[in-house]
C-alpha cells in the first residue's frame, strides 16, 4: 500500500525515528522523502479525505513522507532538535507525536518561508535591537544555513543533543526552531502539525469552539474542557486515537 497517495494530508509522527530503522532522503529525481516505519511510533495516525483519521497498526509498513522544503538529512536534524525542545516525557506527548517537523517543512515551503509579506527593500543595515529583525535572510535561508552547523545532530546521544542546542540558544536558527515547534504543536491541524489535536489535548485547549455563551461565566475555579474541534476535522471522537 502506497501511503503517499494521501499526498499532503498525511500527518505522520515522523519525529520518532529510531536510529537504524529510518533512512532519510532517498533521492528520487529531485524529490525528497522521509522514509519511516510505523513501528517507530507504535502505529501511524493517518488522515485521508475518505476515512478521516485512522491509525495504521501494522508496524512493518514503510511510509514515504514527501518533503516540500527540507532535504532528507535536514528533516532528520530538525526532527531530532524539535524533539529535544518539546520532548516526549511523563507529562505527555511532544513534538515527535504531533508532526512538528512536517509542519515546519510545509510552512517553510509557503509564502512565510520566503518572506513574501516582509519589507525586503534595501539598504539592509543593522540598528538598535528595538527596531526588530533587519537582516536579509529569509526563514528558509536561516534554516538552510543554520542546519549546516548541526550536521550529524540526529546521531548524537540525547545529552549531547541538549548540549549542542544549548550552544546555539542565541542563534536565529534556534529562535525559529523554538517558535516553530510551538506553532507545530499548537496550531490548527490543517497546517500539518498538532496531529490529532494532541497538542491541544495536552494543554486543555479545545480549539475553535463556536459557542461558549453558556459556559463563559461558569466553571469558576475548575477546569472546563470541552472535546476539541479543529477547522478541518470537526470533533475528535474517542475511537480516533489510542
Amino acid at each position: 500500500m502506497d501511503f503517499t497517495r494521501f499526498g499532503p494530508t498525511i500527518a505522520a509522527g515522523l519525529s520518532t525515528l529510531e536510529r537504524g530503522q529510518a533512512e532519510a532522503g532517498q533521492q528520487k529525481s529531485r524529490r525528497h522523502f522521509l522514509t519511516i516505519t510505523a513501528a517507530a511510533f507504535g502505529g501511524l495516525l493517518i488522515y485521508s479525505p475518505e476515512k478521516g483519521f485512522f491509525r495504521l497498526r501494522d508496524e512493518k509498513k514503510i511510509v514515504h513522507v514527501p518533503l516540500h522544503f527540507f532535504e532528507g538529512s535536514e528533516a532528520l536534524i530538525v526532527t531530532a532538535a524539535v524533539s529535544r525542545i518539546f520532548p516526549t516525557d511523563d507529562s505527555g506527548p511532544g513534538a515527535k507525536e504531533t508532526g512538528v517537523a512536517i509542519y515546519i517543512d510545509r510552512h517553510l515551503a509557503g509564502p512565510y518561508g520566503s518572506d513574501h509579506h516582509r519589507y525586503t527593500s534595501g539598504p539592509f543595515e543593522s540598528g538598535r535591537p528595538e527596531l526588530g529583525y533587519q537582516d536579509k535572510a529569509t526563514p528558509r535561508g536561516i534554516y538552510r544555513e543554520g542546519l549546516k552547523g548541526l550536521e550529524g545532530f540526529q546521531h548524537l546521544q540525547i545529552p549531547e543533543q541538549d548540549r549542542a542546542l544549548k550552544e546555539i540558544e542565541g542563534s536565529l536558527l534556534f529562535s525559529l526552531l523554538r517558535q516553530h515547534t510551538l506553532e507545530g504543536m499548537f496550531s490548527d491541524p490543517i497546517h500539518g502539525g498538532n496531529l490529532a489535536m494532541r497538542g491541544w489535548q495536552l494543554i486543555g485547549f479545545p480549539g475553535p469552539q463556536m459557542n461558549n455563551y453558556d459556559d463563559v461565566d461558569k466553571h469558576f475555579g475548575e477546569a472546563f474542557r470541552p472535546p476539541p474541534v479543529s477547522l478541518s476535522s470537526g470533533r475528535l471522537s474517542s475511537e480516533d486515537d489510542e
Binding site: I85, G94, D215
Partner: protein
Amino acid sequence: MRTLAAADIVIVGGGWAGLSMAKELGSRTGLSIQVLERGGPRKTTDYFNTMDELDNWVRHRMVQDFSLETVTFRHSGGERALPLRQPGSFLPGAGIGGAGEHWGAVCDRMSSDCFELYSQTVEKYGSKRLPEGHSVQDWGITYDEIEPYYARAEKMIGAGGKAGNLRGKLVEGGNIFEGWRSSEYPLPPTKIPYFSTLFDVGAKSLGYHPYPSPAATMSAPYTNPDGVDLPACTYCGFCERFGCMIGAKAQPTNVLLPVIARHKNVSIRTGAWVRRIVFDGSERAGRARGVVYVDGTGEEVLQPADLIILASWTLNNTKLLLLSGIGEPYNPSTGTGTLGRNLTHQVSLSTVTAFMEKPLNRFMGSGAAGVLIGDFSGNVLDHTRLPFIRGGTLQAPSHGYGPLGNFGVVPQSIKSKWGSEWKKAAIHYYDRTGRLAFQGEHLAYKDNYMDLDPTYKDKCGDPLLRLTLDWRDNERRMAEFAIARSIEIVRAMGAKEFSPSSGLGTYDTRTYQSTHLQGGTIMGKSPQTSVVNSFLQHWQVPNLFVVGGSTFPQSSSARPTLAILALCSRTADAIVERYLKSPGPL
C-alpha cells in the same frame, strides 16, 4: 493617466472613519460618493471559518502587507531610521473595514478633561508641571460638545457597559470617574469571565472602583438605529486580530456596509492605492481637485471630486498630505509647520503576569470582555505627590486566549525556555496565567513627530513615512506606578506567583503594544498649531477634511475608536448642515 468622471465626494480609506463618513453623507445627501480603499474587499461572512490562530494571531492575516509599505523608525532626530520590516508594536489593517475588522472592540470614552488637557493641567498644577519639551494642547472642542456624538456612536456600534455618571449622578458599579453621559449604554455589560471576576473582587478589597469593560462585542442581540441587526457574542475567544465569525463584534463590514449598500449614490472601489491629493494653490491656501491612485493593474487614475475626505489610517493621513505638498511640514528644531507633529502612541503594557492556583478556562472570552478600574486615570490621581502627570486605566482582560499567543509563559523560578522542565511548567501554568494591562495617556512632545524618509520607498516608489518617537520619563514613571499598583492587586487576587513588567524603557517596535497611534494632522483652535479645525476641516484647503486618529493632539488613555466615530459624525453633521450649503471654511 486615465481621468474618471468627477464625483461630488471622494473618500480615501474604507475603515471605520471612511465608511462612517460614507454612510452618513450617503444616506443624508444624494451626492455621488466614491470610496477608495487600497486593500481588498471584505465582508463578515468571509470570517466564518477563519478561527485560525496561526494565520491571524501569528502571521497577521488581517494586517497590512508590510512588503508593500511600512514606516521607518528612529528614537531621536540624530539617528538613522530603519524600516519596520515586519509587523510589531502596532497592527494597521488593510482591506475594507481596515483595522476596525480586527480590533478588540473595547469602546471607552476619554475622560472629560482630555479635550482641554493643556488648559486644565495648567489651571490645576501651573504650567511648570507639564514636562520639558512637551507640545500638549487643547483639542478645540469640549467634552460637552462631543458627548452627544459619543452617545450616537455607542448606539451605532451596540456598546455594552454600565454608566457610572448619568447626567451628573454617580452610579455605583459603573466608572464613577467618567464624564457625564446623556443616556445609559444601549446594551448591558458583557458576561465577565473568571480571571476578570477575580480582579473585580481583588480591586474592590483594596478600595478601588471596578467596572465592566465598555464593549462593542454584543452582550445581547441588537438592532442599531440604522436598522442593522447584530447577533449576541458567543465568547469564542477568536476576536482581537480576527474578524468575527458571526458578526457579533461591531465591525465596519457589519455595521456600516449594509447601510451603505442601501444607497446607490455611494460606490466603493477596492485595490485603489491613493498616492496624491491633487491640489491647486500654495502651502498656505488652495483647493483640492481630486486624488490620483494606482489601480490593481498598476495604471494611474485621476478621480476628480469637489470635496475630499482623507480617512486612511493615522499614519497614512500624514504621509499622503506630506506627499501631496498640502500644509507646512513640521520642523522640530524651529517649531514651525504643523503637518507631522504630535505623534503619540498610547502607553500600553502588561503590568504584571499573575500565576493563579486554579485553572481560568481562559479560552473563553471576547476582545472586550473584562473589568477595568479608573482610579489611576489622569483626571483622578492627585499628582502633587507623584513623579508624573496624568494616568490611565488598569484592566483585567478576558480576551479569549489561544496557545500560540500565550503558551510557554512560566514563573521566573523556571529558568529554562525549552526542554522537559520548562514543558511541564508551561503545561501546568498554561491555563493559570492572567495579565493585567495598563492603558495610559501619552503626552505629545516636540521631538516625537513624522516626516518623509530620505532612503526607503514603498511599492510605488514613494518615500516611506519616518517616525521619530521615544518614551520620556513621564511615561516611564507612570508605567512604574501602574506596575506597583498591579502587584498589590494580583496579591489581593490570590496570585501564587507573579512576574512584573520591567517597565517602558526605550520604545520597542518588536512586541505588540496597541494600534493606537495618534497625531500628525492634529485638530485645534489655530492654524499655527494644528492642521485641521475642530470640524476636521483643513485650515488651508477648505474642501479637504481629514478624519481619524491622526487628528488627536495627544493620546488619552481611552481606546481611540469611539472618539474617531464620534468626531466623524460631528464632521458629517457640519458638512451636511453647513458646508454643503455654503462651501468654505467652517
